[in-house]
């Protein structure tokens, strides 16, 4: 059912599990993320989707299994090391610095000078400015660079956080429900954005909206009660009787 590990996989998650006081939130989870793929994880509420992201980015410590990123074990590493290795994560609710401008939000996410000394020595160089402009253009906020991030619309805040991830230039980007609360037009634009950024990096998306998943997904994993129920293309998965039973049928 799952594709087997190959050299083209950026991220290989095997037998991943976590239990909270005996409750297995994620159990025996296998997941192979191919290079430049958009891989969507769907599943009913409580299936353990967000927990999987928490485990990969180190927010929650896994109790079993392995998480290999480009062949290197990431499980047990501290969060900032996982980020610096090249795995970026967007939270479900837009998590931005509301009192900073869009430009400053992007700048603070720039990958240079993240140590104490680096922070003290950090200078706003032309290269960094240009990168901020480029990212702002990608996320459609080029004309909002000097706007305080707190007054952006909900959709723009979501894009800004995606932009902040792009500033880190990670090889894997994990997006937790990026289109929740967005208008139809914003969804379409977000789908285009995700397709665009997956040209040179891999993206994991958690999403509920089936139309949206159909638009963006190269591959879909369906989770149920902490386990994988089905995996494959959107067509295969949506015709799987088990999937229809627990999820799509509802």
């Amino acid at each position: 059912m799952s594709i087997s590990p190959t050299a083209e996989n950026v991220l290989e998650v095997e037998d991943l599990g976590v239990s909270f006081d005996g409750f297995k939130a994620v159990d025996g989870f296998n997941f192979y993320l191919a290079k430049n793929h958009v891989h969507v994880i769907i599943g009913p509420n409580g299936a353990g989707k967000t927990t999987v992201l928490d485990l990969i980015c180190g927010k929650t410590a896994a109790t079993s299994g392995s998480i290999r990123f480009k062949g290197k074990e990431m499980r047990g590493q501290r969060e900032y090391r996982i980020v610096r290795a090249g795995i970026g994560r967007k939270f479900q609710n837009p998590s931005i610095y509301e009192n900073l401008t869009v430009f400053e939000n992007l700048e603070i996410s720039h990958a240079s000078g993240r140590g104490v000394i680096g922070c003290l020595m950090f200078r706003r160089t032309a290269a960094i400015k240009k990168q901020c402009d480029d990212v702002a253009e990608k996320i459609g906020l080029l004309d909002k660079l000097d706007t305080e991030a707190g007054i952006l619309s909900h959709g723009q805040k979501q894009w800004l956080e995606i932009g902040m991830l792009l500033m880190q230039d990670p090889e894997v980007i994990m997006l937790d429900e990026p289109v929740a609360g967005m208008s139809v037009r914003e969804r379409t634009e977000t789908a285009l954005l995700i397709r665009a950024i997956s040209k040179d990096r891999s993206v994991i998306v958690i999403e509920h909206d089936m139309e949206f998943v159909r638009e963006i997904a190269d591959r879909v994993t369906v989770m149920h009660l902490g386990k994988i129920l089905a995996e494959g293309s959107m067509e295969t998965v949506s015709q799987d009787p088990k999937v229809i039973e627990v999820y799509i049928g509802h």
């Binding site: 994560r89 509301e98 900073l100 400053e104 993240r114 950090f122």
Partner: protein
């Protein structure tokens, strides 16, 4: 140099406020006040070092420490040990059972100088210890706690307990530390009598100059990327962590830096006041130090210095008249500031010039802030330095 200047002062108004405050402390007060009063101001200003540290640690980074007295005490005790050794030469202490050791040791039947005291014969070592020892202790405590993501109220309670343990530890080891009486009767620094009026004037000026160097350093930090990251950690810790910053390390660093400033303040306190005792390092003084920063404005470096002067001046005048009421008044002031003026005096002063609109905002703050929690939450990032 102009770039450095611009990094420190974002606006002309800031530079003017800074300059006039410096002139007030460095020129006007020494000319206007009798030396006794000036010495008191110097004593208040030595708490300014702690308050500036708290601006970075609490105001900017959102970490409330109720144990800054520990670091103030570490710095102060290092300096006091040096001065005490100098005051305990064999000639002066000839009447003791063991001449050449501090008097309180002799009273406690100690016959040899404890090893811990030996290095404090050297002034360079003492100055080194004043700066490094508090920072080292703070870094170890901070690193241990922040790595385990201990923060907020828990951090405040733990640091408060450390303040208690520290003051009890000093209290209980009379032979080693002078116990409850502290280390008293300090006289000379490398043969220079620090009790004369002349010396008190010079030490006051030294205190002001060092305080402003530290203030400029703090403003520099606030205006670099580190300053922005500190506020980002306060407001959105997880986002900062998942932008690849080592949040625990940055917090431990700023805690250690604040501790170093406190230690320098403690040393200057001892030089100007002439003694050190556990009553200056325990829970109550540690909380007082937080109040200085809160009243002055926990986001503002100048505000913190102002807070030290105002609260201490109030303490001196008010506690002379009504000694029993002072603690209640100070507690009440703290609650009022946290609830109604989260940005303290500095926040108020900045609002006044905008007249009508300013008062309107002030009033709306009154209504809004009844739900404001004691920890800083949504204070603007880029105003009030």
């Amino acid at each position: 140099m102009p770039l450095f200047f611009r990094t420190i002062f974002k606006t002309r108004g800031e530079a003017i406020a800074f300059g006039s405050f410096l002139v007030l402390l460095l020129v006007i007060l020494p000319l206007a006040l009798p030396i006794f009063r000036l010495n008191l101001v110097g004593k208040y200003l030595s708490f300014g070092f702690v308050a500036i540290g708290l601006v970075l640690l609490w105001g900017r980074c959102g970490v409330l420490s109720l144990g800054q007295g520990v670091f103030f005490g570490l710095g102060g005790y290092c300096m006091a040990m040096f001065l005490k050794l100098e005051a305990s030469d064999p000639v002066t202490t000839a009447i003791q059972t063991t001449p050449g050791i501090p008097d309180f040791m002799d009273w406690n039947q100690i016959t040899r100088l404890p090893a811990m005291w030996e290095p404090f014969h050297s002034l360079p070592f003492t100055i080194f210890a004043v700066c490094v020892l508090p920072a080292l202790v703070a870094f170890i405590i901070g690193w241990a706690l922040f790595r385990r993501k201990v923060g907020g109220v828990y951090f405040a309670i733990i640091t408060q307990s450390i303040a208690l343990i520290f003051s009890l530890g000093i209290d209980g080891n009379q032979g080693l530390t002078g116990g409850r009486n502290g280390i008293t009767d300090l006289r000379t620094l490398l043969g220079w009598d620090i009790r004369t009026e002349n010396a008190q004037m010079i030490l006051y000026l030294l205190c002001v100059v060092l305080l402003f160097i530290v203030a400029i350093g703090a403003k520099y930090i606030i205006n670099t990327r580190l300053g922005r990251v500190l506020v980002a950690i306060r407001d959105r810790e997880d986002r900062v962590r998942f932008s690849g910053y080592d949040v625990a390390m940055i917090r431990a660093f700023i805690f250690a830096f604040a501790a170093m400033l406190s230690g320098i303040g403690g040393a200057l306190f001892v030089l100007q006041v002439g003694f050190m005792s556990p009553s200056i390092v325990g829970i109550v003084p540690s909380i007082e130090m937080v109040i200085f920063a809160a009243v002055g404005g926990r986001l503002s470096v100048l505000g913190a210095i102002l807070g030290c002067l105002v609260v201490n001046f109030g303490k001196t005048t008010f506690s002379e008249a009504y000694p029993d009421l002072w603690l209640y008044l100070m507690g009440g002031t703290f609650i009022a500031v946290v609830m109604f003026f989260p940005n303290g005096l500095a926040g108020l002063l900045e609002k006044i010039p905008t007249s009508k609109e300013g008062f309107g905002r002030l009033f709306s703050r009154f209504q809004k802030s009844s739900t404001t929690p004691p920890a800083p939450t949504s204070t603007p990032l880029r105003d009030e330095h």
